[in-house]
């Protein structure tokens, strides 16, 4: 009898919007074992050498392979297949934009809903974590060589995992007091519980990776010192410097970068003030400028700390928003309001210097810009004010220059990103880089892909000692 095709996706249980805006618990609850098997049974099991989903994955996970193992109820086997190429499945299963990657290519899409690959990956990671299931790790014997990794975000963690398995002694330097980079300071608890990040960090520690927190390379130690101590260095320093628009009133109280707003809440637990020492200002109405994933994170966090009305203020229209659809949908369900075709022109404060009005102007869309998106043009005479108690800038970040401002050998682009070639080699011998430090702003999984490829290149460099006379820049 031919296999019955189930067109509809198995729904992922979620916390009710009414309830969840009052807590920081995870929104998507994830598949149960039974639901995961039902969803896995929808997979057509394309052969590994053909499967389009694998081609869409920046870290080459054998997707049909692990889904088959779920069907066989062999979760350890599924985990082993994923971890052959992806050391952080609990994280990628939650924050990857699967709809633009593996799932975009899914053949089932021609017949019905695409397979929910992300949630299946997450199921495997979560089930394994809760049941204490570990994959058998193939570790190469120690080779006596040392690699330093700067930054413990997704790029650094991935590079570290691969290198330690190859037999290297790996040390990760982290500026903050907790490892994880953007995974702990940026992405909120309700989207990626910090327990998951800590588990993945512990897993790396178990493999032998050392973590040095409170270490700002460029200050506590220089890059030159690292090069004396280690055979190679990988820079996964991310894009941590927030951008502001230099508009009148931008430094009024109550105006924050998304980084500050989210760091206070996620890393410092300001939502538990005064039980925790770090405060966050509360108020009635908050506006977020920007429409990417970080903007959604900030808006949804604002609701959870008690802001009653939260606006996303965006200069283009809905279809140009860069946030993932899932994030936009979640924000809408939770009551975030969207204002399109408006740009900020300034801020008005009260007598104490606290922002009270966000000044906006209406836009129309003009010719496409270099990104191919139509450029917003302000319409003269359409200025108006939105009363607010707080404003969050989520208009992007650029790389933090602390590490390389005193290293002239490291060439940077006009956007402040590090120049690297196709093997992630920087313009300084022995120094590699990947993730947002070279891309500007991208995704967790692209950073992980960079970390993987860089690990391979680092291994090759340490074994051969070869370094090109000239670095041919890779374009991202």
């Amino acid at each position: 009898m031919p296999k019955q095709i189930r067109k509809k996706r198995i729904k992922v249980p979620e916390q009710d919007p009414e309830a969840r805006i009052h807590n920081f618990n995870e929104v998507a609850l994830g598949y149960t074992f039974e639901l995961a098997i039902e969803e896995a049974s929808r997979c057509l099991q394309c052969p590994q050498n053909f499967a389009p989903c694998i081609k869409g994955c920046p870290v080459d996970v054998n997707i049909p392979g692990f889904i088959r193992k779920i069907l066989e109820r062999d979760i350890k086997g599924a985990l082993e297949i994923i971890q052959e190429t992806n050391s952080l499945p609990g994280i990628t299963g939650r924050v990857c934009p699967q709809e633009e990657q593996c799932e975009m290519n899914c053949v089932m899409g021609k017949l019905g809903d695409k397979i929910n690959i992300g949630k299946l990956e997450r199921f495997v990671a979560d089930y394994a974590r809760k049941q204490g299931i570990m994959s058998e790790i193939k570790m190469a014997p120690k080779n006596g060589k040392k690699v330093a990794i700067v930054g413990s975000g997704p790029a650094g963690l991935t590079a570290a995992a691969d290198l330690v398995k190859m037999g290297y002694e790996v040390t990760i330097y982290e500026a903050l007091h907790e490892p994880g980079g953007v995974l702990v300071y940026g992405i909120p608890e309700f989207r990626l519980p910090k327990e998951i990040v800590r588990y993945e960090v512990k897993y790396l520690q178990m493999l032998g990776v050392k973590f040095e927190t409170n270490a700002v390379i460029g200050k506590t130690k220089t890059l030159y010192e690292l090069l004396d101590e280690y055979d190679a260095v990988f820079l996964g320093t991310g894009a941590g410097t927030p951008k502001f628009l230099n508009l009148p009133g931008v430094n009024l109280k109550g105006i924050y970068s998304a980084n500050e707003f989210l760091t206070r809440i996620n890393l410092m637990k300001a939502f538990k003030f005064p039980e925790y020492d770090t405060p966050i200002k509360k108020g009635k109405r908050l506006a977020v400028i920007g429409a990417g994933n970080v903007a959604m994170d900030a808006a949804r966090s604002a609701l959870r700390v008690g802001y009653e009305e939260v606006y996303i203020v965006y200069r283009r229209t809905r279809e140009f928003m860069t946030a993932r659809e899932e994030e936009i949908a979640h924000a809408e369900e939770e009551g975030v309001k969207f204002m399109f075709l408006v740009s900020p022109t300034g801020f008005i404060g009260d007598e104490n210097g606290h922002v009270r009005v966000l000044k906006l102007i209406m836009n129309e869309l003009g010719e496409p810009d270099e990104s191919g998106r139509r450029r917003p043009r302000p319409i003269p005479g359409t200025e108006f004010g939105l009363e607010v108690d707080a404003v969050v800038f989520a208009i992007g970040q650029k790389p933090n220059k602390v590490l390389y401002q005193e290293v002239p050998e490291l060439k940077v682009t006009k956007w402040g990103t590090l120049v690297v070639d196709d093997k992630y080699r920087t313009t300084m011998k022995g120094v590699f880089a990947g993730g947002d430090a070279v891309r500007g702003e991208a995704t967790v999984v692209l950073a992980m892909g960079d970390g993987k490829k860089a690990a391979k290149a680092i291994d090759e460099y340490i074994k051969t000692g070869e370094w090109p006379a000239k670095i041919k820049p890779q374009n991202f």
């Binding site: 700002v216 130690k221 109280k253 760091t263 005064p274 405060p279 933090n400």
Partner: protein
């Protein structure tokens, strides 16, 4: 974890501690600071570096008990441990032989005032230190200043020690006396730094101020410490903390420093109630 190896009360609610933090001591330079977090529920606060000893691997900090975290730190004794210390952070103070340098230090600006005085002295400057305090009982680091200054001019707001007057009065008198001054460095209350800048601007004396805005990470990541300098947004934690005092918008800095005043009060009151 970073162990406290020395502790002293310098004045009412002003304390000195020495902490084992070799990673900071090995790289520290005058004008820099650390960010510390006392425990897992703690906030991150910046404290300026007073002294450090590479060989011993220790750093010395001087702080005033003003908020919950500094009060709590004040209860830590020798042998107690601070959860996290990161640093040294910020750009070191630019030090060269200017000729005659004047340091204008107010209140608990003194530890950084001392560090910079020492560095300028070692660079060959003739160094005049003007150190102001509220009253005699709040005078701190006098002996230390004496050792690294060619002239030390102490003043108290109420005249209970040496002389009565603000540091800015002393600075004005010094300039009026015809003394040639090549460089001024100022650290302390924002209002004092603002007046220093106003005075030296008139005379065209190059002046740097060490700013003390609210910080969270201290590594350029959040922008809480942003200040306006010459019309541009700068992050004090990575672009500073020193800036050309004639370009700094001090009024904005004063205003921004009050952002969490209500929350600071809530946290301190809750803490004091708990420890009583």
């Amino acid at each position: 974890m970073f162990e406290i190896t020395g502790k002293k009360e310098l004045a009412p609610h002003i304390k000195w501690i020495e902490v084992k933090a070799p990673h900071v001591a090995r790289a520290a330079k005058a004008g820099q600071f650390v960010v510390l977090r006392l425990h897992d529920r703690g906030e991150r606060i910046p404290l300026t570096l007073f002294r450090w000893d590479k060989e011993k691997g220790t750093i010395e900090l001087v702080f005033q008990e003003v908020g919950k975290t500094t009060y709590e730190l004040g209860t830590y004794n020798v042998g107690d441990k601070i959860r996290d210390i990161v640093g040294p952070l910020g750009m070191p103070t630019h030090v060269e032989n200017f000729g005659t340098a004047v340091i204008v230090s107010g209140g608990v600006g003194a530890p950084i005032g001392y560090a910079v005085t020492k560095a300028l002295k070692e660079a060959g400057n003739y160094v005049i230190t003007i150190a102001g305090f509220r009253s005699k009982e709040f005078v701190i680091l006098e002996d230390e200043f004496k050792k690294v200054s060619d002239e030390l001019l102490i003043t108290t707001d109420d005249g209970s020690y040496v002389r009565k007057g603000f540091t800015t009065d002393v600075l004005k008198e010094l300039i009026d006396s015809g003394k040639k001054i090549d460089f001024v460095f100022t650290v302390g209350p924002v209002i004092m730094m603002k007046i220093v800048a106003d005075i030296t601007k008139k005379y065209g004396i190059k002046t740097y101020a060490s700013l003390n805005p609210i910080m969270v990470d201290g590594t350029g990541m959040c922008g809480a410490c942003r200040v306006t300098v010459g019309g541009e947004i700068k992050f004090a934690c990575v672009d500073g903390p020193d800036f050309d005092a004639h370009q700094v918008d001090f009024d904005e800095l004063m205003m921004r420093l009050t952002e969490y005043r209500d929350e600071e009060k809530i946290a301190l009151e809750k803490y004091l109630k708990e420890v009583q």
